[in-house]
């Protein structure tokens, strides 16, 4: 279970999260919605442990471990995974090499045996197929010249390979056409399980047509302003974020 308690976070001296509370039980999928600038991406980065995000108060625990005391690699080993809104490009590093390095780093740290080359290739091919990823893409340098859809599918592929228990998806639908959203959502849904919790951050209701959440939280000015069931997302689709301090959607 993820427990966020009264979380305050500053970025460049400006307070972005102002006492955020959130509880995400094991096996549930919660959506985080909200207007631009409400702190959605900040929340994602703080959970993954990015530098430059100063926690001034509050706590975050994951399976009773103090997440904030851990570095980003340790969090990945503990099962936290962030699907980036803007995945990084790394020139010269084949996507396959990156995937293998990551999988084996995590396996090693979790006390599992590293995968042999043939076992790893089999695993990647199987997972890539489900996400309709062209095997040729995996030979290209990581995210270099990938289309928006390829980048996001590559994020979900990493999620499938690293077997996280807490998935944070930061605007995974942004920049995708409707077919790409469907493929990505199917990939995410295939990973839903009783042991896995997911936090789906999105600006639009659209993604939630495919990934139906158990709960929806609306962020406004660095706090959870309202929580509800999936119907809350539909309501926002009608009324927009005006009442939460944002412009109409």
């Amino acid at each position: 279970m993820l427990k966020i308690n009264n979380l305050h976070v500053n970025v460049d001296g400006r307070e972005i999260l102002k006492g955020l509370d959130l509880t995400l039980p094991a096996g549930e999928v919660h959506a985080i919605m909200g207007p631009n600038g409400s702190g959605k991406s900040t929340l994602a980065y703080v959970l993954a442990g990015k530098g430059g995000y100063e926690v001034t108060a509050g706590s975050v625990t994951w399976k009773d471990q103090d997440l904030l005391a851990m570095g980003p690699s340790a969090r990945a080993v503990a099962g936290v995974f962030l699907a980036f809104q803007y995945p990084m490009e790394i020139p010269g590093v084949a996507t396959m090499t990156f995937l293998r390095t990551a999988v084996n780093a995590v396996r090693k740290a979790r006390g599992q045996a590293e995968l042999s080359t043939p076992d790893f290739l089999r695993l990647v091919r199987e997972k890539a197929k489900g996400l309709k990823i062209d095997p040729a893409m995996l030979k290209r340098p990581l995210n270099m010249g990938f289309s928006g859809g390829e980048k996001k599918r590559n994020e979900i592929l990493q999620m499938a390979l690293l077997e996280p228990s807490l998935c944070v998806l930061d605007e995974t639908d942004s920049g995708l056409d409707i077919d790409a959203v469907r493929i990505v959502a199917e990939g995410v849904n295939a990973l839903r399980s009783k042991e896995r919790s997911m936090l789906v951050i999105t600006h639009y209701q659209r993604l939630l047509d495919y990934i139906v959440p158990d709960r929806v939280h609306v962020l406004s000015d660095g706090r959870v302003a309202r929580s509800g069931g999936p119907e809350l997302a539909l309501e926002l689709e009608q009324s927009g974020y005006a009442e939460f301090g944002g412009e109409a959607a």
Partner: protein
Amino acid sequence: MPAVQETVARVREIDVDKYKYGFTTKIESVRAPKGLSEEVVRFISAKKGEPDWLLNWRLEAYRRWLTMTEPTWANVRHPKIDFQDLYYYSAPKSTEGPKSLADVDPELLRTYEKLGIPLREQKMLARVQDSSEDDGDEEARTGDRRVAVDAVFDSVSVVTTFKDELAKAGVIFSSMSEAVREHPELVRKYLGSVVPITDNFFATLNSAVFSDGSFVYVPPGVRCPMELSTYFRINAEQTGQFERTLIIADKGAYVSYLEGCTAPMRDENQLHAAVVELVALDDAEIKYSTVQNWYPGDKEGKGGIYNFVTKRGDCRGARSKISWTQVETGSAITWKYPSCILRGDGSRGEFYSIAISNGYQQVDSGTKMIHLGRDTSSRIISKGIAAGHSNNTYRGLVSAHRRASNARNFTNCDSLLIGDKCGAHTVPYIEAKNASAVFEHEATTSKISDDQLFYCLSRGLSAEEAVALIVNGFVRDVLQHLPMEFMAETQKLIGISLEGSVG
């Protein structure tokens, strides 16, 4: 265990500070008196039983050297070197006399084994497993490849492996001293024909006092049946190493040669001033690769090797080709410009370089491509990585002679900075005296971004794994030009060299 992985495993085991080859070997040695004088030059020549022409050649160089001053144009700083405070000759005592594997001091064999360079021939079967996941092929490429090794310890060559088998193909691979004895006509014809004794301060010094090195001759039309390799090790204290390597590929011949270098950790700086000469005749090809990992000095910049090396290849024949690939990770100071003289019409020169500096290392390295013949072409790919407080300079010259019509050059220099206390510099000189020459130069400087690092960390990589991965991506274009045996090893070496550069 495959040889390259074994080497890497050994490198990791020998954990001395950050530098993994920092051990010394207790071995009795014979030394020349300290300092440099005509007597010392005569002493070295006499020790090696050299003919008069070679002694006179050395003496001419020595007298020339006395009139020269140390160059100061390189972007490196170091206290003045006292050339009288060095030993110019040191040889393991036990190797005097006949040299076969059985006669080699077992302590020496252990030293090379510790370095991952087994000299016993039966152990030279290196099964290489290529990291083929990049290709997505399940059948990993494997194969038995053999490498003949010439091991140079301090001033002398201690052993050369696989000589008999090479001789069957007509290839001569021996120490320079032996070549002087066995093939004086070849040595006399080619020695100093690429780097003359008057060339530069350090090359002239080398000509006077060079102690040993490797000699290779590949006869016309022969493709050398295995990789040749020389492994240099400085052991004795306060000893300069001045080896001389001469490689000749006769018409239509091909040879691939690799040199590796390490030294123990010592507080004082040690001097290494080598000369390498390559001669490629018509249609011949020489591929010369270096993995240089001399002791770089400690965290405060104390100690380390001063590496002042002159390397030059002469594409003497038409359509000949010389390709330099270097991986420079060690030395306190690196001053090195492997060059190509493109004399033959249609000849081609290549230079692929990875230079990594960390701590207080200073690197001033690059190449010269001198286009003299018609339709000559050259290609330069240089990747400099600076971390810590280090300074990394690429210095290169591309020139086309008046008669070098249709000369072509492509140069690409990329620098990568890690941290904010290091420096990367690019100093290209371009001279075209023929209007039909086409020279291209590209250069970039970049930093590993925090966002790239965080992305890797968030996937479970440690900071060091992340930096090694990103740097290996950065140097990928050059890595591909290394002999397969050394690619994996070099990738690990890059990781080790950059330890402590982040966090």
